[in-house]
Structure formats: C-alpha cells, structure tokens
Symmetry: C4
Subunit: 290 residues, 4 copies
C-alpha cells in the first residue's frame, strides 16, 4: 500500500516552510497548447505582459521584502527573453525548469519527454550559466516515467505532485530518489485570475482580495500542520498592479511569522535531502487489478 | 401523483438531525470516468491526498468533537488502502457502499449494476469484516432499478435522492422498502473546491469561508424546518488544512445546538425505520404520457 | 429605428413596481432538453423537490407576507402535480403559461409552437378551471412569431424580453398588441444556484447572501428608475430552506417600501394596458442588410 | 528581444490617467458570432437594451460627473441606431471604431479585415459626420497585420493589446507607428456580468459590488504605478440600474483624485503622440524557431 509521507523537521526552530514561486510561462503557455495561438496578437501581448511588466514588478516586491524565490521558466521564455531571465537570476533567485514550450507531457513517451527536458535545460544553461536543479511539470502533469528522467539528469527536486502537505523523498529506482515538494490547485493564481478566450478559463475573474483570503487561510492551515506552503503565481497574471499589491501584503504577512522558514524551493529541497528520509514508493493505480 | 414525504419525529426532544458524511473517492473518482487517468501521475497524487492525508486529519477532527460519522468508500479505495479504511472503522465510524470504481451508473443495466454492487460489497466486507448497510450512488446517480437491487441485498438505506428535507421510506416492491436519506448539491464540497484539468470543474475554487457560509445557512434553514442536514465532504478536497479547519468550526457549531441530533446515517436510517412510516412510491416521469 | 419603451406611471402614488414570480419547471426543465433525463432517478428527484417541498414552503412565505404572485407552470407540471398547481391557484396566485415540457422554442415553426401552446393551455385550464392570460417562454426564448401566436389566443401579456426596465405594449399586427413585462438574467435564481451534472451549470453554487445582494441592489436601482422589478425563482432551487429564508427577507424588504407596488404580473399587465400606450414595433435585425 | 514600453509622463502634474470606455456592441456581439442569433427574439432584445436604455442612462451619469469618454461602436450599431450614436457624439464623447458586426478578426486575411474596417468607417462617418481616429478590435483580437491596416487609414490609436500598464507608440513599418492604449480582461464588465445561453458565459453573474471592488483595486494599483486605467463597460450589461449606480460611484471616486487625468482615449492618444516616444517593435513569436 502506498503510505503517507513522513513529517519533516524544519531548520532553526521553525515549524513550517513557505515558498513564493513564479511560473514565467509567457507566450509558451498558449503556444504549447497550439502553435496557432501565435497568430493572435492580443493573446500574445497578454502573455508578454509577464516578462515585460510582471517580472520587474515582482522582483521589486521580493527585494523590498528581502525574499529569495524560485522562478520556473520554460525554455522558450528564456530563448525569447534572455535579459529578463538573467535579471531574475542576478537578483539572487533560483531559475528552475518548466518544459520548453510549456508542453502538457500527458501521453508523451519517455524519449519525447527526455528531448524536451534536454532542449529546455540547454537553453536555460546557455542563458543563466547554470543547469537547473528543480523541475515543475507544465500543467503539473507528471508522467510515471518523469521522476526517472529527472534523476537521470541530476535534478534534485520536482514540484508537481499533490499527495502531501510537505516535501518527501520520492523513490525512483535502484535506490535513487528525488525530492518532491508538493503543490495544490488552490495555491495557484491561474484558477483565480486567468481568462483568455478560446484558450483558458470560463470567464471567471476573481478579486485579488478573494484570492488572498483563500491563500492566507491555507497558509495558516499549513503553518499549524507543520507543512510547506508553496504558492504559484504567474507574472502575466499576478504581475498586474492590484494583484501584485495584494500578493505583497501576503508575502509580508508570511515573512513576518517567526516560526516560518521562507526559502526558495532549491533550499527547501536541500534541507529535505539532508534529513535522510526513507524514499516513498508510489504505485501506479491499476483499475483492472482485482 | 407522487406525494411529498411525511415529516419525521427526531429522538430525545431534538427537532432536527445532522450528519457529516465523507466520500473517500480517492483515485476511483477519476478512474471511474476513464482508466486513462491512471496515466496521470499528478492527478493520481491529487486523489491519493484523500486517504493518505485527508482521512487521518478528518478522523482527528471527529475525535476532538466526539462525532461519529459515515464514510462512503468505493471498493477500489478499500482494495488500495485497506489500512486506511480499517482505521476509519476502528475509530467507530460507519463504512458504507459507494460503488467499486465510483462508476456513474447511468445507462447501466440491472445486472451490470448488481455485479458492481456485489464486487464492492465483497471487498468492503473482506477489509472491514462487515457488509455495509448503507449506499450512496457515485455521482448521486441512482437508477430506477437501483432501490430494488439494494433491497435484494439487505441494505437498510440509500442516500442519493434529493426530493425531501428529511428521510423517508422509499417503496420498492412487494411491500418492501428502503430508507432514503436525501442529499443536495449545495451541501457537497466538490462544487466549491474541485478543479482537475480535463476531468472536473471549470476552474472555480472557492474560499473555505464561502463554502462554510453556504453550508451554515442551509444547516440553519434545515434546523428550522425540522429536516436532516447531510453534508458531503471528500477527504481529497476538504482534507486540506484550511478547509478542514473551517469544517471543524462548522462541526463544532452544529454539534453544540442542543436541539440537533448528530449521528451517522446508519443510525438516522434505523431511527427512520423505527417510525413505521408508510413507504412513498415515486413514479418515473413519462414525458410521452398525455 | 426601434425606439425605447415609453415610461409608465404606476398606480396610487407609487413610483415603481415589483413582482416575485416562480417558474414551477420541475421535471420538465430536464425532460424538455432530453427525454433520456427521465432515466436519471436522482435528477428527477432533484426537480421534484420543487412541487413537493418548494412550492408549499413558498406559498407559506407569500401568505405570511401577504403577497400575491405569478407562477409560470409548464403543462407537464400541471399534468403530473395537479393538486400542487391547484393549491397555488387556491391561495390566490396567478397561474401562467410556461410551455408544455419547458421546450426551448428556438427553431420551432409557428405551427409546432402553436401546438405546444394549445396543449399546455388545455391542461392548465383542465387543472385550474381557467385559461392563463400570461406567458413566459421556456428559457426566455421567444421567437419572432410568438407574439402573434399569443395575441391569436387572447393572451394579455408575455414576460420573456429584456429591452426595457418596465412594461410596454408590444405591437403584433393589424393594430393588435400584447403587454410585454421584461425580465433579465441577473434577476433569476438559476444562474446563482443551479447545478445538475450533464444538464445545467458549470458547478458554481452561490451563497444565498450573494444572490440576495445582487437582487436587492437591482431592486433599488429599478426603484430609483421607476421600473418594474421582476424576480424569477424556481421552487426546485429557491425552495431549499436557506434560500427561501433569504428570499423571504428580500420580499419583506421590498414589500415594506411605501412607494413600490407589489403585484402579480397579470395585474401589472392590466395596469399597463389601461395606460393606452402606443405599441412599440421591434424590428428583427438583419445582419445582411446594408 | 521585445522590450517593455517606456513610462509616459502625464499632463498638468497628474501621475496617472483613467478612461471610462463603452463598447456599444448591441445586437452585433451576437450576430458577429452567428447570423442565426437574429432568430432569437429574446437574445436580440437583451442586446438592444444597450442602445435603448443603457446608453441614455450612461450619458446622464457622464454628464452628472462632467466626464467625457470614448464609445466604441460597431458599424451595424450605427446603422441600426443612428440617433443613439449621434446622441453620444452630441454629448461631446468620442465615437471610435469597433468592427462592423463585431467580427472576431482571428483568421481573417488582410483584405477581408480591410473591407470590414472600411465598411464600418463609412457608416460611422455617415452617421456622425466624422471618421473615427481610434480602433478597438472586437473581442480584443488584433491580427499582426491589423496595425498596418490602421496606419494606412490614418488611425491615431488602437486599444486592444495587453502588454503594458500605459500607452506606447507601436511601430508599424517604414517609420510609421500608431499609439497603443492597452486594456486587460479584468477591467471588462463582460466577464463579471454576461450570460446569454448558447452564446456567452458559463452562467456566472457577479454582484456589482464585487466587480466594483475588482476595478477599484486595479485603479488604485495603476494609479500608484503611474499607469493608464482603461475600464470597458457594455451598455447592454452595465446599463442596468444597479450596475450603472455602482459604476457611477467608481467614476466619482476616480474623478475626484487630483493626481489622475480622466480623458477620452483620443486625448490620451494625442498626449502620448506628443511625447515623441520611440516606437516599440513587437516580434511575432515563432515557436518553431530554435
């Protein structure tokens, strides 16, 4: 039977962890669904808002609050906006892997996925000078073969699964493992804010105050539970002025809790690795097995 | 003409009843729609959060508030997580039937549905040592032949219909009946919280405070009406820390009303049976009849 | 050019009107979309809640607040629940026409629509003893030929269009007209509350407090504008205890305004007719005309 | 690499700008999607509410608050409601171009789009006596060839892109440029209010207070950022009494800020042009380029 992840201890007397992560999807979020979206100038400009306006605004917020964070960057974003991506790295933040064209990996073979991982890893290394150690599957769609592909390439961690309140070691094979830092749909700004006709969303656009209420409540819940709060924002969405302002309030609130460790995912993963946890095996469900 | 259900009297001077029920769908909610969802590691992990993290948290909440409840468990959940299901039963809660793979029964023949009922009944009995006496149709989709199938198998009650504020005896045939404990869509956490791309939801994810407002108002309405408040939560959704915290507040509020009887559905059904109500016949609508 | 409706004067020194209307769709709302929904026992029970539980609760609310109202009843509802429909009429409320099986009339020919109008008119007359004088198109989908069909049958009014804040005379032909009492989507409970899988809704279920805020604001706006507030509730939705309670609060608030005339639509239509307004012609748009 | 727009200075010591714009889509919003919607009398009346009731109400609000604004008018609206469109111009507001039948331009060739631009320009000129200098693409769907078409026709500005918080010069070719005044989905009333079955919306209809909260927050964010707040309202939606009342409150709030310049888009564009900014080139993304 698949067993729950063991609890983790947090460093320096803290009892919970928090990370503010950003997925710099830009145009690739739409192009990964269909190359035809490239024909839609307004949609492309909607996505370009992320690197052009959202990222600088978010970097300034993080600087003001003295927070280091993790930015998941599709290879195509690094190809199209190398200066933006370098500015993130130069500000001391972690650049992590987020596919090449934000491709949904569902249904892709191991070799197809490997090619995408390598292509995007190459461009990220070329632009930033270093190979990322963290991965987040586009659309949070990990395949069962993905962890092995990540281990083969020396990744320390992935952040795409949803079965725990805190990180764990995920068994791969041959005694190998990667650190998994779980996420959840309620801690993502896409569901609260994203509407792009004929691409994403039903038309719902929430007030930033509603999103912040949802996120603050879950932060407090995870804080009590000793978990790891991983919030995911997209600069093309949360880079808008009022959303950024509300996010900054939340960042300030979280960062001011003395019992919470705020860190980039790479550091959270390194801490988790240092705990020498027993790797968890997750068995693929087989609905025909009985 | 189909007639409304007669009012029921509640025990011990109470004027309304309440049950906090949990559907432990886990992976089966997605697999019942398509076996292909098994390929989606992240989706599977999203569902696994229920038994792995949500159930222990909910059991602790129920223990703290001294509440016994009913957990509807698909057969596949019991097969995959037998220890989790036993831990629920060991804590004094009722285990009830919820299909094998959370199959929507719409369009299934009587014999197909019978086979699923038996298969899941077998695994629940094997895991918990006893045959369930209660049933809830996956997706709350009861067929017109379902009540007879349940009566044939000795079920005391079903909880899938929506035409009354309180339980009643549902006529089956030959003078037989089963107790029906009605539910409603507004008292379900799925509509408030569930978003799984390419499977369920439009992207809407509500704040727990909004869900709790909705549920508390309807509890108060049913309390005034002398009805039976049946709330349905899914551990993979409401087991998340902030949702569980808000649910615990609601449980505490309801449990502290002196005029409300909080009980598992099995006990509510037994009480209803003891009232010796005249069974209701519900006629299948025939839109061609005129 | 189509011209706006002229303002109307309201009786007895009031400056606005209000009507609380109820569409008793019951099973027909689903059956009109597909007869196959008859196979879904739970869906049918969800719809049956309206006549069985919602209508008696709403009648009691109207009685307590001394309000007479208009109930739009599909023919099939009258066929299946004649006693319920008679109880509405016996309480002094108006029974009006709402199709036979809540058929969307879009695409129906004049003769097809005429047959439905007559069939439902017959059953309503058989059950209540009188022919309805008011009509509301199912789904608020009026055809361009519908007004003539209504005038041919002696209807005084329709309540399905959306191009004014108050009633007007709608020109038909040959100097004939019917009174039109406009509605709007925001003053309908379906959008706030209705979720039925594989039939209606995206999963959104709002709190009654949100719906009431929306409706109260629009009432106040129409009150200021001298308009006619027409709220549409469905007993299978707003008959639930907490929604009914919130609706009763709104009814009490509206009814207590000394400058607002609360009346059934039939009386509002008769008052409008008495004003001897010049009938409005509405020209069908022709996008190919230029 | 595409670079962000340079900041702009605002006139007379103000630090931000604001425009309340109105898209008078009326019937064309539905007809542009399918001519068959012309058969739906209720849908057509829903759209007609805009010019018939919404526009006069909005003109009165603008007059009371001493605000001049920009109205984007599809050619068909001017054809069908010439007096309404003239009344807008006569009140001192700007009439700008919004397609002929609100056609989504995606997939249209350069010559097809040119024909639509000219046809609508002709009717607007015939009705108002002057050729519009501003354009907003229906559905905010600009093609990559659209800016050149606009420059060819002497347009001063477009307002359909989303990649900045304030206006900029958009390079076209041969040293030519047009002013771009960006918009965003969160500052549009359609997502908050629009539901038309089988045409638009999932059923969500928000309270005006929620919409106003969202818009006020973003106004304050843009005010702080020195940006340009461009709100888009549709008279068929925001012309309803309570929405108009809430909009008037927001207008009053914005107009009372001493550091905010409220103006029609034409004047904002002229001011932007006067700054002699370096035109921005936006490169079409090519997902196959690597």
């Amino acid at each position: 039977m698949t067993r729950p992840a063991d609890p983790v201890r947090w460093p320096d007397g803290t009892r919970a962890a928090a990370a503010f992560t950003f997925d710099v999807d830009a145009e690739s979020a739409a192009l990964g669904v269909s190359h035809h979206h490239a024909d839609r100038m307004s949609v492309m400009s909607h996505q370009a808002y992320g690197p052009l306006v959202g990222v600088p605004r978010i970097l300034e917020i993080l600087r003001r609050n003295d927070i280091r964070s993790t930015f998941f960057v599709p290879g195509y974003t690094a190809h199209r906006y190398p200066d933006v991506v370098r500015s993130i790295a130069d500000a001391g933040h972690e650049i992590a892997h987020h596919g090449y064209l934000h491709e949904a990996m569902t249904g892709k073979s191991e070799s197809e996925e490997a090619a995408i991982l390598d292509r995007a890893g190459d461009v990220l290394e070329r632009v930033t000078g270093r190979r990322p150690i963290g991965y987040r599957a586009p659309m949070w769609e990990l395949n069962w073969h993905s962890p092995k592909l990540l281990a083969d390439r020396g990744f320390l961690y992935d952040s795409s699964l949803m079965d725990a309140d805190h990180p764990y070691e995920l068994a791969v094979d041959g005694g190998r493992s990667i650190v998994e830092i779980p996420v959840q749909w309620a801690l993502d700004d896409w569901e609260q804010y994203c509407y792009i006709p004929d691409f994403s969303g039903s038309g719902l656009i929430e007030s930033p105050l509603k999103a912040a209420e949802l996120w603050r409540l879950e932060f407090e819940g995870l804080q009590s539970a000793g978990g790891c709060f991983v919030l995911t924002n997209h600069p093309f969405l949360s880079g808008r002025p009022s959303r950024a302002a509300v996010l900054e309030e939340l960042i300030g609130y979280v960062a001011s809790r003395p019992d919470v460790w705020v860190a980039p995912l790479g550091e959270i993963a390194a801490h988790t690795r240092s705990l020498e946890l027993t790797p968890r095996c997750i068995a693929r469900p087989d609905p025909d097995d009985f």
